[in-house]
């Protein structure tokens, strides 16, 4: 079980870094609390902001948290590639699939923890937790995997110096395009097309739909298809680039 040994190593390597705990857990919690306070303070006034309501934050903040998962997996892969540690493992019986599985699985407990913590916060702020809420939490998982896949792709493509900057830029862009701060309807038509073609807004819609969209009696497949398509694309590209870079880095 080479992949399992490697998964454990990656998990320990990540959670023992205080920065990863700060960014993966504390930062999303702070964002949640700030938005929740804003929401409470403007309740009933003309400045009512629907995306800052408890039900909305319950599904959008984990998506924001996953962007940090993407950052940390990208940093881990790029750092491993820059050191002799990965060279050593490549002289062992480890195969490319062991590396990809090991990096992915190690991030899943952290991602699940992010979903759980935000759910607890949302319940504390009055979320009525129903079966649909649970479904929404389950629907966060494909988005989480998509962000891990994107992190793998970035870490495989970029060196350890560039990966932090590029990932941070992508965190800003993906958050902006996710509809978390601003509804797409508030933007011009061109922007709306970009937003709907990219996965970030669609992953929010997918989980929001599970949370309260179902009450409309219909299920929208388009965002699900888009998120899954990006998930597959990111992983296929990550595997190809990782395998290629492993030979190039040797």
């Amino acid at each position: 079980m080479r992949w399992w040994a490697f998964t454990k190593r990656n998990f320990l390597e990540t959670i023992r870094d205080p920065l990863s705990l700060l960014f993966c857990f504390l930062f999303p919690m702070m964002i949640y609390l700030i938005f929740q306070i804003v929401s409470v303070s403007v309740a009933g006034s003309a400045q009512y902001v629907p995306q800052f309501q408890t039900e909305a934050l319950f599904v959008t903040v984990p998506q924001f948290a996953f962007t940090f998962l993407m950052l940390f997996v990208a940093l881990l892969v790029a750092k491993d590639r820059s050191t002799a540690f990965l060279t050593r493992l490549r002289t062992s019986p480890m195969r490319s699939k062991d590396f990809i599985v090991g990096y992915t699985l190690s991030m899943i407990p952290i991602g699940l923890g992010q979903i759980l913590i935000i759910a607890i916060l949302a319940i504390c702020f009055g979320l009525k937790f129903t079966g649909w809420s649970l479904l929404a939490m389950v629907m966060e998982i494909p988005s989480m995997l998509m962000f891990i896949g994107l992190g793998l792709l970035l870490g495989s493509s970029l060196n350890d110096k560039a990966v932090g900057g590029v990932s941070s830029g992508l965190i800003t862009i993906s958050t902006f395009l996710s509809g978390m701060f601003m509804q797409p309807e508030a933007m011009n038509e061109g922007f709306q097309i970009v937003i709907k073609v990219l996965p970030f807004y669609n992953s929010n819609i997918m989980t929001s739909h599970a949370d309260y969209g179902i009450t409309n009696g219909s299920w929208v497949w388009e965002p699900i298809a888009i998120v899954f398509a990006y998930l597959v694309i990111f992983y296929v590209l990550a595997i190809l680039v990782f395998s290629h870079k492993m030979k190039e880095d040797a």
Partner: protein, 246 residues
């Protein structure tokens, strides 16, 4: 099988370079022998190790490791050999024990067997005092020791030590020499180095490599005699064709 390691016209030309990094290399290394590959930076030592450990493919030629071809049987070779790379190759946020356990698990060792083996390695490598410390917090000497210890957890028949004492102070280097000497005869070892005194102190036989070409090989007395030299430094300088520096 006469030799533990045998290279047959082994050659490597990197795509971006015109000149071969390793050219027509023919080594024959016996079981339990410690073979020192001596050369200046960029001579082709690490490229040779990378080919023998199946990290990169040769452009032409082949090598047999315990009878297995590096071209066709990389899985078999990876299960019987291990490498301690030029830089310390450790997981920084894992403890010394966890690093050793990681390598044992990757090589498919049973947990109970691994624990016994790891305890023995920790003791023989003098790692007891740092066993519970994170690898990233260790000194350069201890990190290099751990790096070699990690290569021993799989109990490899063949061990590649690529510049094992590079960048270490004199005391840490001597400590590591003692450890390497304790492995002599138990493993077949290729040790690359550009420190002449290191190769002189450790190796059974020495190969002098320059610009990818193996210029000479033999025991130290044989190399000294061939170059009509009093010491290895003089012999090395003569062998690489820089006699005017003497």
């Amino acid at each position: 099988m006469e030799y533990a390691i045998e290279t047959i016209h082994l050659e490597k030309v990197f795509k971006k370079e015109n000149t071969p990094a390793v050219k027509d290399l023919n080594l024959k290394i016996k079981e339990g022998e410690l073979y020192g590959l001596l050369g200046v930076n960029g001579a082709g030592k690490s490229t040779t190790i990378k080919m023998l450990s199946c990290l990169i493919k040769p452009t032409s030629g082949d090598a047999l490791i315990e009878g297995h071809s590096i071209l066709k049987e990389s899985d078999a070779i990876k299960s019987i050999s291990d490498t301690s790379p030029q830089e310390s190759a450790v997981a920084a946020n894992l403890t010394v024990k966890e690093n050793l356990l990681l390598m044992s698990s990757i090589y498919g060792k049973k947990k109970e067997d691994a624990k016994i083996k790891i305890a023995s390695i920790i003791s023989s490598m003098g790692l007891e005092e740092v066993a519970s410390k994170k690898a990233g917090k260790l000194s350069g000497g201890f990190q290099r020791r751990l790096s070699i210890a990690m290569a021993l957890t799989s109990d490899p028949k063949i061990l590649y030590l690529d510049e094992p004492t590079l960048g270490l102070d004199v005391l840490a280097r001597r400590e590591l020499w003692k450890i390497i000497l304790s492995l002599k005869g138990k493993k077949t070892i290729i040790l690359t180095s550009h420190y002449l005194e290191e190769v002189e102190a450790l190796a059974d036989r020495v190969g002098i490599i320059s610009k990818g070409v193996l210029l000479e090989e033999g025991t130290i007395p044989e190399i000294l005699k061939k170059n009509d030299s009093k010491n290895l430094e003089e012999a090395f300088i003569k062998a690489v064709g820089q006699g005017d520096l003497l």
